[in-house]
């Protein structure tokens, strides 16, 4: 195992692994708060942590995957970070908006759509916005 020394800006490692744990693995949330490294951080799912001298911060936005429903600001206030898609059901005049940024898998999206359009068998057409 390589030994890597580095000075990190505040919250450098917190910001990274917290989101992975919260979104991907709810059962490990305890390990994150006790300071122990979760499975993912110890064994691989880390982006390359070069010395921050070479880190101009431009990677920060890519690294931050939004945690669902956090921060607790309503979607009406969210200026960016949201990725809305308008969904219309055949036969319904009014479409619904779905924020793709809040879904981390196809299954979650299907579940949301099923809730929004309770049904038997209607077609659901997705339009990109």
């Amino acid at each position: 195992m390589e030994l890597e020394l580095g000075l990190a800006p505040p919250n450098y490692s917190h910001g990274h692994h917290q989101h992975n744990l919260a979104v991907d693995d709810e059962l490990s949330s305890s390990s994150s708060s006790s300071g122990k490294r979760g499975f993912r951080e110890a064994f691989g799912d880390t982006t390359a942590t070069t010395l921050p001298l070479f880190d101009d911060g431009s990677n920060d936005n890519k690294r931050k995957k939004p945690v669902v429903g956090w921060p607790p600001v309503s979607s009406a206030r969210r200026a960016c970070g949201a990725n809305y898609v308008k969904v219309k059901k055949e036969g319904d005049a009014i479409g619904r908006k779905v924020d793709l940024a809040l879904h981390s898998s196809y299954d979650e999206l299907v579940a949301t759509l099923a809730r929004m359009f309770p049904t038997n068998d209607h077609q659901v057409i997705l339009h990109g916005l």
Partner: protein, 446 residues
């Protein structure tokens, strides 16, 4: 909640004397539904649209209020995304002499805001909408004069994107303000500390002018952005506003020392909601958890009724809250605590607790079952992404027939699943009417 245009049309057609329509966090309707309300509700006093998703059908719904219609007291269309006919809005505002609350959307430019204010100087509550424009001395003067005419203005909300430049324009109303609700734009990372200081400083200047302030809400308009307010803004506000009782504050960093100072400054807080944007953020100077800071808040603010905590927190903070927050009715917790003890402290303490909402905390079955009786003294408990199992929820339901135990898991039906199945979302509330029959498919009652 889903509301359709048909619902709104039915309301307009059925109720001759319909007066108040307030929709909060709804969707499924459009400006066509609003048009029906405008055209049909001849005695409407309040049209209050808060944070809804409203489809824009390009219908000029505002024009459908008849010329004879003058009864409006509250008009809030801040969540509407589309354009509004400003000339029509001005005529409506002019003839509704009892208008007390006006909350505009982002489509109203600053110069039109000034002319609206001149037509409605009696306003008590104003939502400014975007409040953003390049600085122009003429516009500044118009705005300052318009605000100057609003002697009754007490509550102000809106965006803050250009506040530093236009701040002085509403200084004259600051003296009378009791409530301030601002969302602020976050700056680019490279502005770094300077941007933070300007933001905090801007808030401090506003706060020092608003010494009658009772309620302050400060939101980020870009919650995923890099710039943010810091603890300094809140410390300054707590020092300058002796009547401040209610705070909702989003920021990027905090310290125990700041919270202790805030607690000393404002023992009169009844509502303290602090949201540090990044989960698990420690005291940025000492790197310690923020237990000491929040403990100081609950120890000092004996009248605290609502509390939201954030940042890096251990079970210790829950020990303090359980022991000291005697009047606390609502508590919101996220990404906090180390063990079951945390939840146990809360449920075995907090004498007045009514509503508890928890997400992403390492709380499991034991404290829930050990404190089952407490749940009957509360209105509701929400727990999501914690360490609960289906078996414990089944036990709880068996043990407490006057509680409704609702579970929302992606996989259902639950009946066939084993006790060890993790519970994704739990909602428990007391009931004397038995299980409800209108659960959507995603909700199952255990």
């Amino acid at each position: 909640m889903v509301v359709t245009d048909e619902c709104l049309e039915m309301i307009a057609a059925s109720f001759r004397n319909f007066q108040v329509l307030r929709l909060v966090s709804c969707d499924g309707f459009s400006t066509a539904g609003l048009a029906a309300i405008a055209a049909g509700c001849r005695h409407l006093r309040e049209l209050d649209l808060q944070e809804n998703e409203i489809e824009d059908c390009s219908i000029h719904w505002l024009s459908l209020f008849p010329e004879s219609f003058t009864s409006l007291v509250t008009l809030n269309f801040s969540c509407l995304e589309g354009d509004v006919n400003i000339a029509v809005l001005e005529r409506l505002v002019t003839r509704c002499r009892n208008l007390k609350t006006l909350k505009l959307n982002n489509a109203i430019p600053l110069d039109k805001l000034a002319s609206l204010l001149r037509k409605a100087p009696q306003l008590v509550e104003l939502g400014t909408g975007k409040f953003s424009a390049d600085y122009h001395p003429d516009l500044f003067a118009k705005l300052a004069a318009a605000f100057g005419g609003c002697k009754s203005l007490r509550r102000l909300s809106g965006a803050w994107d250009a506040v530093p430049d236009y701040l002085p324009a509403f200084f004259c109303v600051c003296e009378g303000l009791t409530s301030l609700n601002l969302s602020y734009a976050t700056g680019a990372l490279f502005h770094g500390m300077v941007m933070d200081l300007i933001e905090d400083h801007g808030l401090a200047v506003v706060a020092s002018s608003c010494n009658k302030l009772q309620e302050l809400r400060v939101f980020p308009s870009d919650p995923f952005g890099a710039g943010f307010l810091t603890e300094r803004g809140l410390v300054d506000v707590s020092a300058s506003c002796p009547m401040l009782e209610s705070v909702l504050y989003f920021c990027g960093r905090m310290t125990n020392e700041a919270l202790i100072t805030i607690a000393k400054n404002r023992p009169n807080f009844t509502c303290f909601r602090l949201c540090i944007l990044e989960p698990h953020t420690p005291d940025y100077i000492t790197r310690e958890p923020l237990d000491a800071g929040f403990s100081a808040i609950v120890e000092s603010c004996r009248g605290l009724r609502r509390l939201s905590i954030s940042g890096l927190l251990t079970d210790l903070v829950f020990k303090s809250i359980g022991a000291h927050a005697d009047r606390l009715e609502m508590l919101s917790i996220a990404f906090a605590g180390n063990s079951d003890l945390g939840l146990h402290y809360i449920l075995s303490g907090c004498k007045s607790l009514k509503k508890l909402e928890i997400r992403d905390c390492p709380f499991g079955d034991k404290p829930l079952l050990a404190n089952a009786a407490k749940l009957e003294t509360m209105r509701s408990l929400w727990m999501s992404s914690c360490l609960l199992t289906l078996g414990a929820c089944r036990q709880l339901a068996r043990k407490m027939p006057r509680l409704s135990v609702e579970i929302m898991n992606e996989s259902y039906p639950l009946d066939s699943l084993p006790d060890e199945t993790p519970v994704e979302k739990l909602y428990v509330y007391r009931t004397i009417a038995g299980p409800r029959s209108d659960t959507p498919a995603c909700v199952q009652i255990v």
